[in-house]
Structures are given as structure tokens and as C-alpha cells.
Symmetry: C2
Subunit: 532 residues, 2 copies
């Protein structure tokens, strides 16, 4: 295969394809990026704010076209895609503003005895390879958080198109390339490659100094391992099962909890890395039954690809089997049966295992691209606390609209179970308010296992802001000190350097005596912020 | 072998030994560290400043004893050891002060729409394993930059004794443990383990959340690989060949350059990770000959261990062979021949290769511990620019008092060679002053390859200060974004977390509305520093 075919998940029909980038062309892109790196590194953050603003403007100006193509390749629906595109444009501007504010440079200078001085600041690492995700064509695609924050930090970006949306990737990359050129960015600041082999070539290329990836644990860890051979950092945001804890007090409103949960874990057909995958609620409040009732109202939605749909069916079967060994018969929700979805899909046992194996190998052939698309029904599965032990399938992510509900008898037992889960990106806690006696301890335990705890809010909302942390301990990400959303995202693409006894000519504007960029700096140990 | 023998490098004599820590005892230490982590994480930075001050006081109070034991195990000389101990005490206080200043917490809070808020700050990662270095018994030993910065950041520390100074490790650890206990730190905040197997147990222990290592590339990369299996970050400071560039203008004072170079690369018998390993100077200034003349005045000094001495002899032979293939006969300096050092040590050829193999396997038996100690003579080797190609032995570190001198005809050719070197921790540039036309470009190229550039200063001086960067791109370190000296050192041992819609009870003091710790914070996007 020397092209990425484009499929419509709503119908399974192919609409064209995008040719893979040849090794020679990738090599040329790498050379240009390397040359551009020197030029981009020398630009001011304000200049790059201008570039990012131009990109955001171009995205906004092409909304109808972009939303149409994205809809054809993802089936995510126009409203969702319109919202995601608007957020992408806003976050692109935000990363430019974060660069211009200048704290990310961590600039400082000081005397270190006698006439000696020492100055330190962050420099861009160089060309960054970005491997975007299937599930956020605008948020984590060929533009989005990774690409925009890398550009803001002063690094050229080479993006690899995700095979789930190749046509959109080409169109977006064209808009970004044109916007950058018109805004004055050097050739080589940004480029797109298509195809698996082109991606491998990026990972192995000496020109590439950092890698950002959003996707599965398997894919992320493969990149981490491969890049480790030459010491290149891979910031892989992989995602795991994000837990939700409902305290005894909060369970007083079971309908509200159930409705919010069902909405959150079926958002975007459950294809969120922040999907709440496992909810703990007190027994007796009827939350599982309420979730089932809510699911009956949720329409089936197409998953992004035939492979994801097959993986989802196999995963649901595995979860049902893992829960069914000790769970009551109603464990698997009798959700509405939709096109391409039959009861057999969730039957536990050897047949399901076979399906799982097949899913891993699923080929994008006609059989796997049924005319009725990749639609699946949402599922909820009841699990017992005792079954949530390390190594259980129940503790691993299943991509798509399925979630587990664990109704606990004793809050203490559920709290103990929390630390047996894989670390994750985010957790939610529903409390009865400031006086809730359980909430402080729940938050405390979760903070040791996740990157973010949302109180009385579902985990699927991720603000692009100064204080966002979108990361988490391994294996939720490969770098628990990093974030792929929010102001901290720039920090992945810089490294500190120091110059001792520098003449002004050797120092960047960030450290010139008159502070021309008007940024926060640490002078002789004291952090100073320019007045407004 | 179930004990680390203690040898005197000046005589080769054994003075006792220190038993290895049993697996059961290591397991107990890990349990205690894990329990302590929760308590330490909840202390204020000012409390930990108190602990670190108590450690520094204890070190200072025991100077004569500590310098005596260190001298017996390292042969580094009382003056050097006294200076290093004083710096260790000062840096221990400094890391406490950095914690108290509070910027390392990166605390911030903001509104994110409606009544929603988001707060973010850094939490300590948990127990840190520290693998100290042979060459800085106080600076990077069982106490020193790694251990002190981890404690300052709020992490319990488990240190592994370096086999080069087991008795000193035990004494230091005893002082630190007592000082911490008296200052009120919880049991488990700090512990020592002895032995290779105990070290492996730390790397594999789920309780250990980060590792700091200072030493060889081989050792560091082995730890990185092993810890990668469970996603634990290893901050390995490994060191490479640190280049020095002398511009045409600066070569007007060849004697001064030569004297400074010889002093810098023979400091501590050349056992510095910041040792200048390769000097570029314009041809015709006579710098290599001047260096040879300087070396004639440098007394032989014992290396730290029999293995290091054997490795040095083999390394010098390899370097001479690599240089000799095309270099003139005087390439290897005819340095003073000292005890245990013969001309055969620097003969190139198959015999030298054999010696290199033997060095790797050297056993601490009687034959390897000659009565006359591990003293070696310093060496300078002239190399040709053309021989500095990737893969050459000339570009790899040789631990001990040997350095290369490359006399260039064209500054441009030497500049091009700079980017063929392995990235390194630090580089020095000697210039003719602010008007030197070459210096800006040299600094510019070096900044892409090193962590620090020292202008008109030798690389071996490393200040513990706010703006120090002691790190460098891989393979100089495993994490180019990190530093193991200076205020940034704390950043290795924290990770960011965010809480959405937090009640005050769920937030740390760092984010309480009245800012009780009086630290810099980012409120609604604006960085604010408390007034004095």
C-alpha cells in the first residue's frame, strides 16, 4: 500500500486516498526543517505569536470546508467538529500568547563571584515530529496542541498524517503552510508526511530532536523504545482508564450522576483519552440501573475506523468476560441494538477471544468496511470491587463508548481499589459539597495517581489555560512531568543553556539589560516581573 | 563478595570493608521511604530548609573526620576535599533556600469559565534513588547535589554507596540520618544501601519513583534501560569530552592558555565530568608544546580505584593509537614517568587493545592493588582535525588526567569539527575580548551541543546558583532538559498536578488565598511575586 485510503465511517465507503510521502521527499523535508530551526530559534516570541495568529485566522476562515472534510472522515458530527475547530484556533492563539509572555524562557542572570556572571535561558530543541491522534482531528491532528505549542516554543514541526483522516490532514497542512509563509515564517517551519514508513523515518532521523505522540499505549511505547536508541525524548500521551468516584453524599442525586456519566463516556462515541472509564458509586443508590436507562436514550454512533470498531467489539466482549466471571447476569447492559451490532458482539468466552485476535489484525478491506459503517452501541458493564486487581482486563482502556460501574459497599474498600488502578490522565470526584467528609481523602489519593482531579465535573472537558495539566504518571503518558495541553506544553520543546561571562552580543534579547521583550526574569536570584 | 572493600588509592592497601545491604533490609528501607513520602510531601519548604540546614551544620562540624576518611579512600588531597565539603554544605543550604523561595512549585490558579476554577502546582514524585559518583565523594556522593535537591523538593532519598568510598558513605549517611532525625524529619526520609545487588533492587522497586545517577555512559545507560521497563525517569549525568575553543585573538597569550588548560584537565587527577578533554587552538601559537611543558610540572596523582587506573592506562593507549595513525611521533607527551607508569602504558597497537579488555574486567585483587597505589602521570595528545570524525575513540571520554590538543589551520574547519563532537556538559571559549570577530559564532554553535558555555573560564568550575545549567544533550546526560546542579535541580523530582473546582481544603498552602508561604504564583494568568 503506497497511499492512505480515506473512508467515511458513517457508510464505510472510500472517498479517495492520499499518497505516501517518499523517503527522498521525507529526507528533503528533514533538511529544510533543520535549516529552518536556526532561523525560527532566532525569532522573537511575538513574531511567532503572529505566525500562530495567522494559522488560527486561516482555520477559522475555512470552517465550513474543514468541518465537511472532517465529518466525511471521522463521522464525529458537525456540531462537535465546529466546536473542536474553534477551540483549536483559540488554543493556537493561546500558545502564541504564552510564548510572548515569556515565562517559558526561564531567563535569568546573576553574579557568581568576582567579575564572573552566569546567564541561563531556554532554547528551542530543534525540529519536532508530531504524531497526531485519530480522535481529535483538529485538537491533536496535524495542527492542534502539539504542533502549535512546538511552533510557539520556536521549533519547526513535521507532522505525520493520521490514517483516520488523510484528506483532512492534507487540507489542514496546506492551510497552515500557506498561513506561515504569508506571515513570514521560513520555508521548512512546518511540513506534512503521510504513511507509516515516513513516520518511522522521522523517528530515526538525526534532524528530529523531540517527538510528540497522542494515541494508544502500544503505539506510544513503540515510539518511546525506538527513539530511546538515540536519546530523543518522546512525549507520548497514551491514556488509560480514568476513574470517577462518587461519594456517599453525592449519590443522593443518582439520576444526575448517571446522566452526566452516560453523556461523558459516550461523547464523541467514547473516543476521548479523558473518557471516564470506571465509576465507583455507593451500592444501593441505583446508579448502574440509572446509567443503563440513560444509555437507552443514546444513539449509536460510528467509530472512527473499521479497526477501532472491531477493537471496540472485541474489547467489550473481553470486559464482559472479565466481569462476568463473578458478576450477575445483567452485567452487560442490554443497550439498543443498532446496525452492525448484534448480541453476539458482547458474548463472553472463547469466541470473544478469537474476535479480539482478529481485531488486532483487521485489514481495511471490503469486509471490514461494511456499507452501514462503523456504528456501535454504547455499553455499561457492572464490575465487582474484588475483580479490579492488577493485570485484569478491567483496568485497561477500551476505546469507544463503554464504561464500567462498580457499586461499593464500603467507601474505604473503594478508596483502596483506586490505588490498584493504572495511573491515568484525569479523575473525577463527585462530592456532596465542602462539608463532605470523604472528599478530601479521595482527592488526596487520586493526586498520587493522576495528572488532574476534577471535582463535581466530568473529566472530558479540558481547558486550554495556564493551569491545565493534561498528563499523568506512566503508562498514562511517557513523561509525567509534561503536559500536552495548557501553558506548560511549550516546556516539552525547550532545554536550558547557560553562558558564563557572556558578552551582551552572546546573549539573546531575553537577557539584554533593558529587557526589550518585557518578560519575567530572575536577576541575581530574584524573580522580577515587568510592570504593566 | 558480600562487602565493599575500602582501598587507599595512595598505597593500594585495604582498610576494612563495608557489608552489603541484604535484600530484606533493602525491602524494609523501601517500605519506610514509601511511608515517609506522604509525610515529607506534606511539609512546608521552610521545614525542609531546616532539615537541610541541620545536615549542612553536621557536615561542617565533622570536617576533620570526613576529610580524613575521604582522603584515605580517594587520595584526592585534604585541600581539595576540604573545599568540596564546604561547597557541599553550602549547596545543601542553597537547595533548601530554593525550596523556600517557592518558584519550583509553579503554583497557579485561575477561572476557566462560569464558576469553574483550575489550580496547578508541583508535587514531589516520591522516593528517589541516588547513585552517586566516584569522583565527588561530597559533591555527588551519598549527600550532595542529587540527594539535597531531592530532599528539598520533598522526596525521601535512598542512596547507594559508591564502592570507591564505602566507609565515607557509611559515615556521611550516619551524620545525615542523625541530623534529619534531630531536625524532626520522619523515619524513612533518608537511607543508605551498599552493594551492586542492592542498587538493582532499588531500580526495580515500585516504591522508587525517580533515579539520579552520576557516572559513566555505560553505567548510566544501563540504569536508563532497566528503569524504562516501568516508566521510571533516570536522570543520568554521564559526561563526555568537553571541548575548549581558543580563537585566533585569544592565542596571543599561549602560555596562559596552556597553564590554565593543564591545571584544569589535571584537577582532581582529571576525574571531573567537566574536564576539558579537547582543546582547539590556532596552529603556530605553540600551545601544544606549552601544554607539554606545563605537564612536566604536574605531579603524578593517584586515581580513585584500581579499575579507573587500569582504564586510564588503556584509554591513553587507545587515544595515542587513534591519534598516532596520522599524527607525528611527538603526539604523546613525554610526561614524567612515575611509579606504576611505564612507557609501555601508552604504546599503541594490539597489546593496548588487550589491556583495554583487561581493564573492563579488572578484579580488586592483590595484583590490581599494587603497594605503590594507583598513581598515573598526566598526558596530552596532539590530534589532527581530520581524525575527529564520528565513531573515533578520540571523541569519547577517557577518565583521568589526559586531554587532546588540536591545532587548527583554519578557524572555519575547527568550527565545523565542533558539531561532529558528541554533545557535552560544558564547553569553554577563550576569546580576545568583546571585539573578537570569531567568538559569537563559536558560542552560537556550541550552544546547540552543550549545556553551558564558559567564556574565558575553564569548564571545571561549577557554581551552585540559580542560573547554573549542569546538563547537556544526550549522551552527555539522559535528560537534556534537566540539571543536576543549581536551582533547576529540584525540577527533576516533582511533577505537576491540577485540581479543578477545588475546595480550599483540597489545595495546599501554596495555593491558599492568603499565600501563607509568600511564594511567586500565577493568578488568572498573571505571574505575581510577593513584595519583600
Amino acid at each position: 500500500m503506497n497511499a492512505d485510503p480515506s473512508y467515511d465511517p458513517r457508510t464505510g465507503e472510500q472517498r479517495g486516498s492520499v499518497p505516501h510521502t517518499s523517503p527522498e521527499r521525507v529526507a528533503g523535508i528533514l533538511r529544510l526543517a533543520s535549516a529552518a530551526a536556526v532561523i525560527v530559534a532566532d525569532t522573537s516570541p511575538t513574531t511567532r505569536l503572529g505566525w500562530l495568529t495567522a494559522i488560527a485566522d486561516a482555520l477559522a476562515a475555512h470552517e465550513p470546508e474543514l468541518v465537511r472534510i472532517a465529518g466525511e472522515e471521522t463521522g464525529l458530527g458537525a456540531d462537535r467538529l465546529r466546536g473542536e475547530l474553534a477551540k483549536c484556533a483559540a488554543s493556537t492563539r493561546f500558545y502564541g500568547a504564552v510564548a510572548a509572555e515569556g515565562s517559558y524562557l526561564q531567563a535569568g542572570t546573576e553574579g557568581i563571584g568576582g567579575e564572573s556572571t552566569l546567564s541561563r535561558w531556554n532554547i528551542p530543541v530543534g525540529p519536532v515530529a508530531v504524531f497526531g491522534a485519530s480522535n481529535f482531528p483538529f485538537g491533536f491532528g496535524v495542527i492542534g496542541h502539539d504542533a502549535a505549542s512546538a511552533l510557539a516554543a520556536g521549533c519547526p514541526v513535521i507532522v505525520k498524517a493520521h490514517p483516520a483522516h488523510p484528506r483532512l490532514s492534507v487540507r489542514l497542512a496546506g492551510l497552515v503552510t500557506d498561513a506561515l509563509a504569508e506571515a513570514g515564517a521560513p520555508e521548512g517551519s512546518y511540513a506534512l508526511v503521510v504513511g507509516f514508513d515516513a513516520g518511522l523515518q522521522l523517528i530515526d532521523a538525526p534532524e528530529v530532536t523531540a517527538v510528540a505522540f497522542t494515541g494508544s499505549q502500544g503505539g506510544g511505547m513503540a515510539l518511546v523504545d525506538r527513539a530511546a536508541a538515540r536519546g530523543v525524548p518522546v512525549f507520548a500521551e497514551m491514556g488509560t482508564v480514568n476513574p470517577v468516584f462518587v461519594t456517599t453524599d453525592a449519590a443522593a442525586t443518582p439520576q444526575e450522576i448517571a446522566a452526566g456519566f452516560a453523556q461523558s463516556f459516550t461523547l464523541g462515541a467514547g473516543q476521548f483519552c479523558t473518557k471516564p472509564g470506571l465509576l465507583f458509586a455507593p451500592a444501593g443508590a441505583g446508579i448502574f440501573d440509572a446509567v443503563l436507562a440513560e444509555l437507552a436514550q443514546v444513539e449509536a454512533a460510528p467509530l472512527l475506523t473499521a479497526g477501532i470498531a472491531a477493537g471496540y467489539r472485541a474489547g467489550v466482549a473481553q470486559l464482559a468476560a472479565a466481569a462476568g466471571a463473578s458478576a450477575p447476569a445483567e452485567a452487560v447492559a442490554d443497550a439498543p441494538v443498532v446496525a452492525a451490532e448484534t448480541a453476539a458482539d458482547v458474548v463472553a468466552g472463547p469466541a470473544a477471544d478469537g474476535a479480539a485476535g482478529a481485531a488486532a489484525d483487521v485489514a481495511p478491506d471490503a469486509a471490514a468496511h461494511p456499507r452501514d459503517g462503523y456504528a456501535v452501541a454504547p455499553r455499561a458493564i457492572r464490575v465487582r470491587l474484588d475483580d479490579l486487581h492488577p493485570g485484569s482486563r478491567l483496568l485497561e482502556e477500551c476505546f469507544g463508548p463503554v464504561a464500567l460501574v462498580c457499586e461499593y459497599e464500603e467507601a474505604g474498600d473503594a478508596l483502596d481499589a483506586l490505588v490498584r488502578l493504572q495511573p491515568s490522565l484525569v479523575a473525577s470526584v463527585f462530592t456532596g459539597g465542602p462539608g463532605d467528609p470523604e472528599s478530601a481523602e479521595v482527592v488526596r489519593r487520586l493526586l498520587g495517581r493522576v495528572g488532574r482531579v476534577a471535582l463535581n465535573a466530568w473529566p472530558t472537558g479540558v481547558a486550554t489555560s495556564w493551569s491545565m495539566q493534561h498528563g499523568g504518571p506512566w503508562p498514562a503518558t511517557s513523561r509525567s512531568d509534561a503536559t500536552s495541553v495548557g501553558a506548560g506544553a511549550l516546556g516539552r520543546f525547550v532545554r536550558p543553556v547557560a553562558v558564563q561571562n557572556a558578552e551582551p552580543a552572546h546573549l539573546p534579547a531575553a537577557l539584554q539589560p533593558d529587557n526589550p521583550w518585557r518578560i519575567p526574569r530572575r536577576i541575581n536570584g530574584k524573580l522580577t516581573v515587568p510592570s504593566e
